[in-house]
């Protein structure tokens, strides 16, 4: 295979049919570029989603109250389910829950509040939380700390603010120890979070202030309400099982029909995660099928062209045989031409694909909020593609090569 002399011979033949060689090569080139672009796109979406979910536990479950749809225990349907502090005790008794974080948003879900510091103000999300939230969403801290048990116990008026909140209200001033006003009540800033999540989720984190759950309840007279629960499952408990137990306990407490699935809303990260994984698997599969089919079309093109070439070169092959070429040397000549053509075209395609992905990466990295992450086709995939190409080139060469080997020199020389 490393016989330079033979490759010179092959190169001479391919060069003598430039246009045809080019057109054939383009099919393979395009196939491999397609394959790489699709795999790159898939990995980009995957990287993007991973970025969004970074810092979130994967065995996460959120539950919130909705409206009942069935009458139960003498109660009519259409009743609003409101969680309360009693539910905290009920859920804490469930053995499958590792960390429980009751949460409440000031003003209700998706409502924002005006927060001010001295003359500056902005509109942000205010969340009442327990220290356990750390286990649900992992934060890093620019400064200070998160809510702790003493804040909860003493109902301290403290706040942990997001990065965007700090930027808007404080600019370059150090916010730690300063007092901000939330809806007329002063809170002392004790920490600034730095989110690990990307995209929309990261944005939301940056625009959020966290205050102790108990403080918010009394400061804003929210009674015993709990907005929703976030929790993680103990290791060994799967997401669907945890959700079943939580729903059962809450349904009993709030007198909800056991089969009324719509009364309690939920978001199960575990289920979401496995859905994601299935999605990415399918995406990769589709990429390989579509890219592979394009590549296959290219390879069939090579086979076809090689066959035509062999027919056109009947006389040449006849002459070669008369001069002492063995059938094996003819087979090897045609196969090597086929492999060389496929490999050169394919490797050019790989290079173009790598260039394309690098370009996409450069563009995407200039858009930090993009839901797409950096496209990344691993070296292993590239090498696999190259191996596939060389094999494909060989397969493409089989038929033309065996045809070439069967050419009888007398028939070839008669064709005058």
């Amino acid at each position: 295979m490393l016989d330079l002399d033979k490759w010179k011979e092959i190169w001479a033949t391919l060069r003598s049919n430039r246009l045809r060689t080019f057109l054939t090569a383009f099919g393979v080139f395009w196939g491999i570029v397609m394959l790489m672009a699709m795999l790159g796109f898939g990995s980009s979406i995957q990287a993007g989603s991973k970025q969004q979910m970074k810092g979130m536990a994967t065995n996460l479950l959120f539950v919130w109250g909705q409206q009942t749809t069935e009458s139960f225990d003498g109660l009519p349907p259409g009743r609003q389910v409101r969680f309360n502090t009693d539910d905290i005790e009920i859920l804490r008794r469930l053995p499958s829950i590792e960390h429980l974080a009751p949460r409440l948003q000031l003003g209700g879900w998706m409502n924002n509040f005006t927060v001010s510091y001295e003359s500056k103000n902005g509109t942000f999300t205010v969340m009442a939380d327990y220290p356990e939230l750390r286990h649900i969403i992992a934060f890093e801290y620019e400064a200070g700390r998160f809510i702790n048990e003493r804040d909860i116990a003493e109902q301290r008026k403290i706040a942990v603010i997001g990065k965007a909140v700090r930027e808007q209200l404080f600019g370059d001033t150090d916010p730690i120890g300063k007092y901000i006003k939330i809806s007329g009540v002063y809170f002392q800033v004790v920490g600034v979070t730095k989110t690990l999540r990307g995209g929309q989720m990261g944005d939301r984190d940056a625009n959020t202030l966290f205050v102790p759950f108990t403080t918010l309840k009394t400061a804003f007279k929210m009674g015993d309400r709990v907005g929703f629960f976030a929790m993680t499952a103990k290791p060994g408990t799967d997401g669907p099982e945890l959700e079943r137990q939580v729903r059962e306990a809450l349904a009993r407490h709030h007198r909800i029909a056991p089969d009324d699935g719509l009364a309690i809303g939920s978001f199960n990260m575990f289920v979401m995660f496995s859905k994601f994984q299935t999605f990415f698997f399918v995406l990769a599969l589709v990429s390989w099928i579509v890219g592979g089919a394009t590549l296959l079309a290219g390879v069939i093109g090579v086979s076809n062209i090689m066959l035509i070439t062999v027919k056109e070169r009947t006389k040449e092959i006849g002459v070669r045989k008369a001069l002492g070429a063995t059938p094996l040397s003819i087979v090897s000549m045609v196969m090597k031409e086929s492999i060389a053509l496929t490999a050169i075209a394919g490797l050019t395609g790989v290079a173009a694909g790598v260039g394309l992905l690098a370009m996409a990466e450069a563009i995407l990295s200039s858009m930090p909020d993009s839901p797409l992450g950096p496209p990344n086709v691993g070296l292993g995939t590239v090498l696999k593609a190259v191996a596939v190409l060389v094999t494909a080139g060989g397969i493409a060469g089989i038929m033309p090569a065996s045809h070439a080997a069967s050419i009888k020199p007398i028939e070839a020389l008669r064709a005058e």
């Binding site: 011979e9 006389k315 070669r320 001069l323 070429a325 094996l328 020199p409």
Partner: protein, 236 residues
């Protein structure tokens, strides 16, 4: 050099069988210069193909030197062609995308000779046919006579014991034909057996002996031919 003993060849055309060579008896001594003549359809091309191990025969024996040539594998046939026989064709059969030098060197490629070595040898052979300055030219840039000289150089490079020339002057004008026959005579004088298939008496007259074929049979093979009665049956 070579001997054919009751060689028969049939071509199957549908259900019919065409008897192309009938009990051909033929002997050519080492170093002979022989012409094979015959009208078209007389079987002379078939005979040449069998002699050149390009085609097999149905019965009889063909001895090339001490070797019985019969039902050889393609690889073996290729090897014998490469080592023992040099071909010269009417239409030259040079590879159009290769230079004169590369064309001449081609048989050595199939002997596994390195590029440098075979180009060196090919240059010598091109010089021998007077085309050293044309080494880097493509066949399309050469005249018919020059192309045939290149082809002859190619037929010689493998140091064959037998040159088979199929109508070597068929595509050339009479002046060029004469030069090519001069070249073949010169090759013959170096001790190589030369067999020329032709229907041109002008060509046949330049050889030592003419074998005539008619309807697949050899006629007057062992007599001095009519066209060159004075020439002896060669014993160099």
């Amino acid at each position: 050099m070579l001997r054919l003993d009751k060689v028969n060849k049939y071509y199957r055309v549908g259900t019919h069988s065409l008897h192309v060579l009938r009990d051909v008896e033929l002997e050519v001594a080492d170093g002979e210069f022989v012409a094979i003549m015959g009208a078209s359809g007389s079987g002379k091309s078939t005979l040449l193909n069998i002699l050149g191990i390009l085609d097999d025969y149905d019965s009889g024996e063909y001895w090339l030197g001490d070797t019985l040539i019969r039902s050889l594998s393609e690889a073996k046939a290729a090897n014998y062609r490469n080592r023992f026989i040099g071909f010269v064709f009417q239409s030259f059969n040079l590879l159009p995308f290769k230079t004169a030098l590369e064309n001449v060197a081609l048989p050595l490629y199939y002997q596994g000779v390195t590029r440098r070595k075979r180009n060196q040898i090919a240059t010598q052979y091109l010089e021998r046919v007077g085309l050293r300055d044309w080494a880097e030219h493509l066949p399309s840039e050469m005249s018919g006579g020059q192309k045939q000289r290149v082809a002859i150089a190619r037929s010689l490079i493998g140091k064959p014991r037998l040159i088979l020339a199929d109508e070597p002057t068929g595509a050339l004008d009479s002046e060029t034909s004469k030069q090519i026959m001069d070249l073949l005579s010169e090759i013959h004088r170096t001790g190589i057996t030369v067999l020329v298939v032709t229907h041109d008496p002008e060509v046949a007259i330049r050889t030592q002996r003419t074998i005539r074929l008619r309807d697949g049979k050899v006629v007057g093979a062992h007599e001095a031919s009519l066209s060159n009665p004075g020439m002896p049956v060669a014993v160099p």
